[in-house]
């Protein structure tokens, strides 16, 4: 079969992209979703706090998803559920399988990659110990509790203080489990302050900064963990071991953009974001293939996923309706104290403001963030505080694009 635009992934990124494609004139859009319903991970994020930026109200994950699902349905945009894309090539031929059609192919004029992330696992960390039952990623535990209605355990230790770990500390506590500790190897939590207070402090759950799990105990089922303090190189310090008796360990240790399909058609990835290299239109280095949402960069807020996906949808529609255009790229680059900048390329042939997204490497108080092109400073913003857990943005206005004659660098300097 043939479609103008195929969107891979029916989570928040895919949904917002689909609506934007349609509203920008490309009506022949289809969403391919691996799960049994649209909405992606939002379906299991039953806590509130979504949509504060976009809708100016605090929604639960399912409520946020439903607003977009309703928009998709209103437009009669086609979607396939329970459908797994198994390959994608540069000619935009998609091979997929599902229970009703079996194996099938779609030829697309444009593709939007919106596959999201998966969680880093215990294996990725090489935690020593046995392999008993009772070890879950925080998101898996979240699915068990919120979607399946099972409790994975009663006595819990959580490794990693990212937002999912914090949210699950509260969730398990509310459902009657005892969360003994949240361990964080870094000297700070990457979670939002609001979550530290409302998920840990509210319930008296201790957060151990500069600590990690050095051993998991138990043969059939987890019986406990050894937790050690770490030095500034994040190496465990001998003699600081603490033992916690528990039957469950949750890992909340980061997300990895799910880019297998992206790699399979040789789309260049950024080692910094582990997502595709894109321009401000969210077009990858393969014409007509776009990427948006967490498959591109891990966002803190779904509101920004929606915003980014609308950009991808708009330009994908433009590509389908008006054809490919010549590019005039200038690179962006992370300077001092910045861990990454997105987009990695600015296409000067595309008019319009360019919003740069970036993260700082550490917690900085009283600092100045600059965007430079050679010796000239394009933008400068003073900040009272910048933290790695909150994505920063700066806007390069349209009038400045023509003057970009070399790599655009974002840097942060402290003012003291």
């Amino acid at each position: 079969m043939k479609h103008d635009i195929v969107i891979i992934g029916g989570g928040p990124a895919g949904l917002a992209a689909a609506v934007a494609c349609y509203d920008n004139g490309a009506k022949d859009v289809v969403i391919i979703e691996r799960g049994e319903e649209l909405g992606g991970i939002l379906n299991q994020c039953i806590h509130n706090g979504f949509g504060l930026t976009r809708f100016k109200e605090s929604l639960s994950g399912p409520e946020y998803a439903e607003r977009f699902i309703d928009e998709v349905k209103k437009r009669n945009i086609k979607y396939y559920l329970d459908t797994m894309v198994i390959s994608l090539n540069k000619d935009k031929v998609i091979k997929a399988v599902n229970p009703t059609l079996g194996f099938f192919e779609i030829e697309a004029k444009s593709v939007i990659l919106a596959m999201g992330c998966r969680e880093r696992s215990r294996g990725a960390l090489n935690v020593a110990g046995t392999r008993p039952a009772g070890i879950y990623s925080a998101g898996t535990a979240q699915k068990y509790v919120n979607i399946k209605g099972y409790m994975p355990g009663k006595e819990v230790v959580i490794l990693g203080s990212g937002d999912i770990g914090l949210i699950m500390a509260r969730r398990m506590t509310l459902e009657g489990a005892k969360v003994h500790a949240v361990c964080e190897i870094m000297p700070y939590s990457s979670g939002l302050k609001r979550n530290i207070v409302q998920c840990l402090d509210d319930f008296g759950i201790p957060l151990y900064l500069n600590h990690t799990i050095t051993k998991i105990h138990g043969t059939d089922r987890v019986t406990g963990v050894t937790v050690s303090k770490v030095d500034k190189n994040r190496m465990p310090i001998l003699g600081t071991e603490m033992y916690f008796s528990c039957d469950t360990v949750l890992f909340s240790v980061g997300l990895i953009p799910e880019n297998e399909l992206t790699k399979s058609c040789d789309i260049p990835l950024s080692p910094r974001t582990r997502g595709a290299v894109v321009s401000q239109t969210r077009e990858t280095m393969v014409d007509g293939i776009f990427a948006c949402g967490n498959v591109l960069q891990v966002h803190d807020l779904v509101d920004f996923v929606s915003e980014e996906s609308e950009i991808a949808g708009k330009f994908s529609a433009d590509y389908v309706l008006n054809g490919a255009k010549a590019h005039d790229y200038v690179d962006t680059k992370e300077g001092e104290n910045i861990s990454y900048v997105l987009p990695q390329k600015i296409d000067k042939a595309v008019s319009g403001h360019v919003k740069l997204f970036f993260r700082v490497k550490n917690t900085f108080k009283d600092c100045t963030i600059r965007v430079k092109c050679g010796d000239s400073v394009l933008l400068e913003r003073k900040k009272k505080i910048a933290v790695p857990g909150e994505m920063e943005t700066l806007l390069i206005t349209n009038d400045k694009l023509k003057d970009l004659n070399q790599t655009v660098v974002v840097e942060l300097q402290t003012n003291s």
């Binding site: 379906n43 039953i46 806590h47 509130n48 605090s58 929604l59 639960s60 994950g61 399912p62 409520e63 439903e66 509790v145 919120n146 979607i147 399946k148 209605g149 509310l174 459902e175 009657g176 939002l192 302050k193 609001r194 530290i196 207070v197 409302q198 402090d201 509210d202 009272k384 505080i385 933290v387 857990g389 909150e390």
Partner: protein, 116 residues
Amino acid sequence: MEVKNLTCVECPMGCQIEVGLSNGVVEYVKGNTCPRGKLYAENEIKRPLRVLTSSVKCVGGKMLPVKTDKPIPKDMMMDLMSKINACHPSLPIKTGDVVIKNLYEDVNLIATKTIE
């Protein structure tokens, strides 16, 4: 004089705020860098409120996400959880439908998902 320590959640600064109380009345607030911090601390001392979210098992076994339609006192959360878990709504249900009326005073528990 009683002293309470709080972390402000109004922005990423996360100011460590100290509140001095005498007989439950706020005497001073310090450690905040802006007026929002003072207001946050005063409210947290007076009566900390939270929106409670959970999921309940419907008749037939499907899980339904729910939330309180207004914030409830923080110290009531655990008590209300047993009431929430004892409830098994029947389907279909729409986002915003009341699952438990007057869960706490005039606060209702409502569905946050439409399930056919």
